[in-house]
Symmetry: C2
Subunit: 222 residues, 2 copies
């Protein structure tokens, strides 16, 4: 394994360990020692990537915001895809989940920030492009609709978390889009949109590198 690839994997392992510890104890109670134990690595290896607990929280939030999505014919479909992908990842990716929890922690976010501003900025930008193309109604204000979607999404996520541990988040987020798209998209665009609950799963499968979709190679002696 090349040195750079190893560094990327170590960095990711640290983030996943930090995500588990923040998820279990909350940001304030979590310590770097707890994270080292879960990651099974030395202080030096961890500090090479993140020099404090705050830096770990910032790293998780940055990783949550990174999102590769395939381009679509309709910009407003890309807008929907941002949320459907997040709904798919939340119960499956501990880093994305921890990023969401950290981002809405009223005390913590004063120190390490929140993913919300970047997620909203991207959402507003995509809506503005959809509006330029005439896909959404002229009276839609991208900033207002972007903030509304982000806050409503958060509420739906919390509801699903409290009720069934996020098991129905994709169905509920799909329902959120079903309820708001008629106010936003033009009738012709509305019929072409894919808002189905498994949208995120299909997008996720599309963006996987080919080699990781195949079974892992079996180690051979020598």
């Amino acid at each position: 394994m090349a040195r750079q690839e190893r560094a990327i994997r170590t960095r990711r392992a640290v983030l996943e360990a930090a995500a588990k510890v923040f998820g279990e104890y909350g940001y304030s109670a979590a310590t770097v020692s707890d994270i080292l134990k879960v990651a099974g690595m030395t202080k030096g290896a961890l500090y090479f990537h993140f020099d404090s607990k705050e830096a770990l929280a910032r790293g998780i939030i940055e990783a949550q915001v990174e999102q590769l999505l395939p381009p679509q014919d309709l910009k407003v479909q890309e807008w929907v895809d941002q949320g459907m992908m997040l709904a798919y990842q939340l119960p499956r990716d501990p880093v994305v989940h921890a990023g969401a929890v950290l981002s809405s922690d009223p005390l913590g976010r004063e120190h390490y920030g929140s993913a919300w501003p970047k997620l909203i900025e991207r959402s507003v930008q995509t809506l503005a492009e959809a509006k330029e193309r005439g896909e959404i109604h002229g009276h839609v204000v991208p900033q207002q609709t972007g903030e509304l979607l982000a806050s409503a999404f958060h509420g739906v996520q919390l509801f699903s978390q409290l009720e069934v541990g996020l098991r129905d988040i994709e169905v509920r987020v799909s329902g959120l889009y079903e309820h708001i798209m008629p106010a936003i998209a033009t009738p012709a665009v509305l019929t072409r949109l894919d808002l189905s609950p498994d949208r995120g799963a299909r997008l996720y499968a599309q963006i996987q590198p080919q080699d990781t979709q195949q079974p892992a190679p079996v180690a051979t002696a020598g």
Copy 2:
């Protein structure tokens, strides 16, 4: 003052003191002694109404759910009014605010419950009546739309709380209804709905008993 009226006022004073203490320290850290200090009353007076911290939390949640609203020509307007009234009360009524905070506390609500089931039940019931009257589309499922509104409302409330201390909650909740009503209400009904941000304030003024709208009478000697 009649004995019964005095008891009602004492009970309300206890709830308001508990709401302030829960709001400041959170449920777990708050103690009955803290609440007694804020209320300025004896243990006996408090325990006459509420025999534990849990009972106080339940009392706050019950008070949050009580909501008097004037009947409207359209049932779906009554559905909107439930949320617009709550949006008006949240930054102004400490008991309603504490009820909302307690209801979404994942650890606490296992002990004292949550206002959400009752609020959703009322919302679903009103939507079902609106559907029977043909005010909303036939494909609307009241249970799904009721849960969606409750969870999205909670997210909007949290966003407004974190960003500006609830100062714009009425504008944001009005925006939430603007975004979801076209998916729900028939076109003819849609044009008749009042979704404006000051809807809650106007409803609140309507339901005040006449005497409390006038200045308090000046006390005269003997």
